[in-house]
Symmetry: C2
Subunit: 149 residues, 2 copies
């Protein structure tokens, strides 16, 4: 029950792009360096984000990847689901899935509640706010930086 | 980001055992039938639960698997973690993991919050209560059974 590496990098790259001036087109290699991801791997992540409509890919000399204005406020849930598909904490939460225990299984209710609480947290986090928070922390410098426990 | 099949079966088998009279020893084949799991696969699940100390395994003619009294109130979190290890929604939440982005990464806070909310739901669900709920629903019969959406 862990986020895929691809989804983690997708979130990193979206936050990075939301911190760039609107209209910026960044190359794959610039993005790979910024998010500390092997370029080949990031290529697949960017494909997923492009296919999911969150990122625009432009070809040619002035090409590159761009975060369209309307997706600067994408939620973390949208980014994760663009890569991993709908979050379904257990197979019994997939609507097409039929389970013979459906009528009485009490664990189903718990999986559903756990999923809902997870989704709610990812849904209220938005990429541009996270980009602002990252910029503020970087500007504050090492003295005031958060220390994780 | 999905529960493993092994953890799902572990929860099923724990709920089933919590619904048996205290001291009952159930064979692997009885349990496999009750939780609708291939016997070979359940064998590994039972090994995990035994190793995790949640289930006692007795050998010999009167042998079988038993849920000791003190584990009838195990939480869903304990059962899942006995099989999958500690829930860590992202690698940056593993305490030994060091990340160069640690000082400023705003996504870390969101992963930590999402994990905490998921863990809280699994921690408040307890196996014996779920077993009681299952028994009540089965007793109520198909007319009053829950229909999932």
């Amino acid at each position: 029950m862990q986020l895929t590496r691809a989804a983690d990098y997708a979130v990193r790259v979206m936050i990075h792009m939301a911190g760039l001036p609107p209209g910026t087109r960044a190359s794959r290699s610039e993005l790979a360096e910024a998010v500390e991801c092997p370029e080949q791997f990031l290529s697949k992540v960017l494909q997923g984000l492009t296919r999911g409509g969150l990122v625009a890919s432009h070809r040619g000399n002035t090409g590159g990847f761009e975060l369209p204005g309307e997706h600067r406020a994408a939620t973390l849930l949208e980014v994760v689901e663009a890569i991993e598909g709908h979050i379904r904490l257990n197979v019994c939460l997939i609507s097409e899935h039929s389970c013979t225990r459906q009528a009485w299984c009490p664990a189903h209710d718990v999986w559903a509640e756990a999923q809902a609480s997870l989704v709610a947290v990812l849904q209220k986090a938005n990429i541009s706010e996270l980009a602002e928070r990252a910029a503020a922390r970087k500007a504050a410098g090492p003295v005031n930086q958060t220390v994780w426990n």
